[in-house]
């Protein structure tokens, strides 16, 4: 599992992904951690296949007992099917996940972890002196979906928005936006169901000050490429399967 620090300030953002030992028939995913002095939040911690390499990678940054918060942007297995294993490893943790999906996500196993349901209009996650905002991203692609915005680090963890399906070993960051477009076009057209939901999200996100847009699959967007992505996505017709 590769680890890349994408922000270092009063706290850190670390991206985990490109696991070389991952079975080839499961989708590669990016996991993110926010590390403060005594706490650690894992965002979209991944599927059960990734649990062991993911935990082993985190142990380079935080001890198990300081992993206090998990976040699931939505209910998909590549996002949170590892929950039943985290549940047995973490003794004092909370899972922040959509209220709408609670009864579904609990199928993955959630006995000791406290499920903190996120209402449709969003909320916050407090991690020591850091407050992260939970931005509604409903129907992008899941019917109850949230992204995490860190106003201090100016990072938006954007779940499936901005994702691209690429072969193993892909670089961590978008290097040439124009050539990256074709890698993400089909994903957005096919997985995102609603132009209306897309426009509402873009309007909301354009009001945020974002340096880094960090999706769950593929490469991270930095600087001007964040705006390039929003413009491209704005013009894209989605929900093309019907």
């Amino acid at each position: 599992m590769k680890m890349t620090k994408i922000y270092e300030g009063s706290h850190q953002w670390i991206m985990f992904g490109r696991d070389e030992n991952k079975p080839s028939n499961i989708i590669d995913s990016n996991q993110y951690a926010v590390r403060t002095a005594n706490k650690c939040l894992l965002m979209d911690p991944g599927g059960s296949e990734l649990f062991a390499p993911m935990m082993a990678a985190i142990l380079h940054h935080a001890p198990v007992e300081q992993i206090t918060d998990l976040f699931a942007s939505h209910q998909d297995p590549d996002v949170i099917s590892s929950l039943g294993l985290w549940d047995q490893a973490l003794s004092n943790a909370k899972l922040h996940a959509p209220a709408l999906w609670e009864g579904f996500i609990r199928h993955f196993g959630c006995e000791s972890i406290e499920y903190v349901p996120i209402p449709d209009n969003g909320g916050t996650i407090k991690l020591e002196n850091i407050e992260l905002q939970l931005i509604p991203a409903h129907y992008l692609h899941s019917s109850a979906n949230f992204h995490v915005y860190d106003p201090q680090a100016k990072i938006l963890m954007s779940g499936d928005v901005g994702s691209a399906l690429e072969p193993a070993g892909t670089p961590m960051f978008v290097e040439n936006f124009d050539s990256h477009i074709e890698k993400m076009r089909y994903f957005h057209q096919r997985w995102m169901p609603s132009n209306h939901a897309k426009r509402a999200w873009i309007e909301r996100v354009r009001n945020l000050d974002i340096d880094i847009l960090a999706p769950q699959h593929g490469r991270i967007f930095k600087g001007d490429d964040v705006k390039h992505f929003l413009d491209w996505f704005d013009a894209l017709q989605v929900g093309v399967a019907v």
Binding site: F51, M55, A56, L59, V64, G84, L85
Partner: protein, 202 residues
Amino acid sequence: MNIQTKSQFVAVASITSELSAVMVVAKEISLAAANAKAIAFRAGDKAKGFQPITDFINELAKETIELVTSINVYALSLYQLTVNEYRKTIAYNKFELITELSKGAAYARSMEEPLEKAKITMENCQRQFKRDVKQLLDQLEAVMHHARAARVIAANSRIEASQAGEYLQSLQAVAESVDKAAHTIHDNVQRCRIALSLYRNN
């Protein structure tokens, strides 16, 4: 999931299936008892010896139904325990893998406590599974005992039926159906016991 875990799931799940067949048969015995009672009543003095047997058959069927109902609840909890044990074993194996993968990590030692806890939980589950299997086997033995008793009653019924003149055939048919039902119960329960006994001492 390894072969042994799969077999354990199948063994536990098949108990409920076998027992539901036993339940159907026990209900048939109960019906046969009611039928026999009516015939014996019509036969009057000719079937005097048969009359108390019908009550006995009915009682036996009732007890079997009650026993199987309680075993079914137990079998369901054993199935849940199997699921739990499976989950705990998976977690323990993953935690062991983490210990291996995280060698050299700054906080690798923080996994020691979860690993130890997972080991204890997994072993507790395994012990409880063995205990519960043993208890279930004892309960199944009680059903076998009922099946054997039913066969003895069927044999007595045949003897009594032979005294019943023109009712002989009807009462013999009752005896046959009790005997057949007892056989079925015996065979089904025996299959449960064989499947489970593999896990008593594993």
